[in-house]
Subunit: 361 residues, 2 copies
């Protein structure tokens, strides 16, 4: 998607042909900066510190992290050590483990001498698959937005989204925002309500993305979502996912479940954009998903720009207050209108998902 | 309630016997500072700038604002001008208009020569009435918490509250927190989940209050509330109100409705603490309540302490992002388990409220 008019991806090989360039998402929305990853450890750190974030992009970064590891040492020992280290960076998203496994499956059959080239090729292919899948997913979501626009007599469709499931969370296009970008390009009028998404305020990334693509949007605190629904200012809730169970329960950024409960109370459709790689075929019971608990400082401190436009952090909670900081929550399938995948829109159920993915895991 | 072991109220006559001392709530939770109000204009500014906040405390401050106005000029002209100016400071809470009206009704029958003394006396009485009502309300809420503690086999009752409906929002005791303070004093085990309450983070005030009273609590982002409910970590949601309609719809801090929708989805009780003066007997239709829309800066900028413990503000949203900032939302009566008043617990309906307040408006 575009940044100041220029098309970008979130991750790409640098001009040197081996190091990996990513957008530093901790600097956004205030500064647009690229960071070069030159080792597997740097890739792991970028994932852990959320320099890169979003389930699909984490997977892509881990894949390139494997390639960087093999560049230093193409042996089996290094291959498996890198895989372990990368998988351990973040626990909730399923794409991460899947991307690393795909790399492992591919590379263990390749002789160490050819592994580096094979790893770069496979990582690049995973990125292209992500772009193609998101574009396809966007097309299926676009049909939903088109239908809502017709129901509104051609008036704008008000989409409410949470966190950032835009192109910054993927290699390109995004998941929940892919239908929105397609709608904007095809002339379907759309307006996006962007929730701030405390504690890490990834809504600011969404607002930044939308403004660079010229999509009308309004930014609010998370608390406003229910009021907007009650006022009739929301037509559809559209979010991403970090992991969706085989039964259709959607694990996504903390706060998503509140939106789903309110959408149900207002008889509004609630869709999750679910690329195939984020489906956890091995888990039926969402209670088995490890919900990441992150450090208290994310809650007690807020980062932004000070009056001189310099990066700064302020403490907002009383000193020493006990904190709980869950990164994700579960929206049960019964509250989900549909799962938008690259293969079509599935019902939020085992049967619905199996209908589109008979091959499954 | 206690601050560092010393009992305090949020508003009181200063030692000079005429100026009014309030706690500067914009400095909390980081600094505890008193501000002297010496004119009606200063009282109005304190309300508008949220130096004082919370529906009951706003009413008390406006009452003293009338007294300060008459001190400068006890004529009818000044009486009515001060009333108009004070009522115009904030639109949503009903206590404000009610306190000013109570003062007007009382003072217009008093000769200008005696008005100053009468105004101070009436304002003081309104404050005492608030304290007594909150204490009584707390007793009725305590019975609910006691019942939940018994159901938990004597284990702690997990209360989730939003914003600050504690003693800082009133003259003393608080509304939603009055039952909690009574429970703590009477040995009923209680733990409070405190939501941050963006955009103004009044949850920090609640955490500050609870810590000074020694009540166990945990602070979270607003987004976490639904997840906590789903985990079984919440027994009851207990919030305040700025205005409750005659039909039992609860207008409260933005985000309250999301909590109510999630509570319903989890079959959890949702109570609002509703002192009589916050009931709007003239309004059946909650859509008629003016919902305050506040400045964008409350959303785009976050205030706190910098690394040197100095007050600082950071911008969190991209520059120029369009913002919506509604201060309140409506929780429909159908989602409310009960309204805890100083006269008992009413069903959230016209009949329920009339049962306790046959005299009504």
């Amino acid at each position: 998607m575009r940044v100041a008019g220029t098309p970008h991806r979130t991750i790409a090989l640098a001009r040197d042909g081996w190091s990996v360039e990513v957008i530093d998402q901790t600097a956004l929305p205030h500064r647009f900066e690229l960071i070069r990853l030159t080792s597997s450890a740097e890739a792991a750190r970028a994932i852990r510190d959320m320099v890169v974030r979003g389930a699909p992009l984490i997977g892509a970064t881990a894949a390139y992290g494997m390639a960087l590891a093999l560049r230093d040492d193409p042996t089996d020992r290094c291959l498996y050590a890198a895989a372990r280290a990368l998988v351990a960076t973040r626990p909730t998203a399923v794409n991460l483990g899947r991307a690393v496994r795909a790399m492992l499956d591919h590379l263990r059959a390749v002789s160490p001498r050819q592994r580096v080239a094979a790893a770069y090729a496979r990582a690049g292919a995973l990125c292209e698959e992500d772009v193609a899948a998101n574009r396809a997913l966007g097309g299926h979501g676009l049909a939903i937005l088109r239908g809502l626009a017709e129901r509104n007599g051609g008036g704008p469709v008000n989409v409410l989204t949470h966190c950032n499931a835009g192109w910054l969370a993927t290699v390109d296009w995004g998941t929940a925002l892919a239908p929105v970008y397609l709608a904007a390009r095809e002339g379907v009028p759309v307006h996006v309500w962007v929730t701030e998404t405390r504690p890490r305020n990834q809504g600011a990334l969404t607002a930044w993305e939308l403004s660079h693509e010229g999509v009308p949007h309004t930014f609010t605190v998370d608390n406003a979502a229910g009021h907007l629904m009650r006022l009739g200012k929301v037509d559809v809730v559209l979010v991403g996912t970090d992991r969706t169970t085989a039964a259709g329960d959607v694990c996504n950024k903390i706060g998503t479940y509140l939106l789903a409960a309110a959408a149900r109370d207002n008889h509004l459709p609630f869709y999750a954009a679910v690329p195939g790689p984020s489906i956890d075929w091995e888990t039926d019971d969402s209670a088995a998903i490890p919900i990441e608990e992150r450090q208290a400082r994310e809650v007690t401190h807020v980062a932004g720009l000070d009056g001189d436009e310099r990066a700064a952090t302020v403490r907002v909670a009383p000193d020493g207050t006990p904190i709980a900081n869950f990164g994700f929550d579960i929206t049960p399938a019964r509250l989900v209108t549909g799962l938008i995948t690259e293969r079509g829109v599935a019902g939020a159920s085992r049967e619905g998902l199996r209908g589109l993915y008979p091959d499954g895991a």
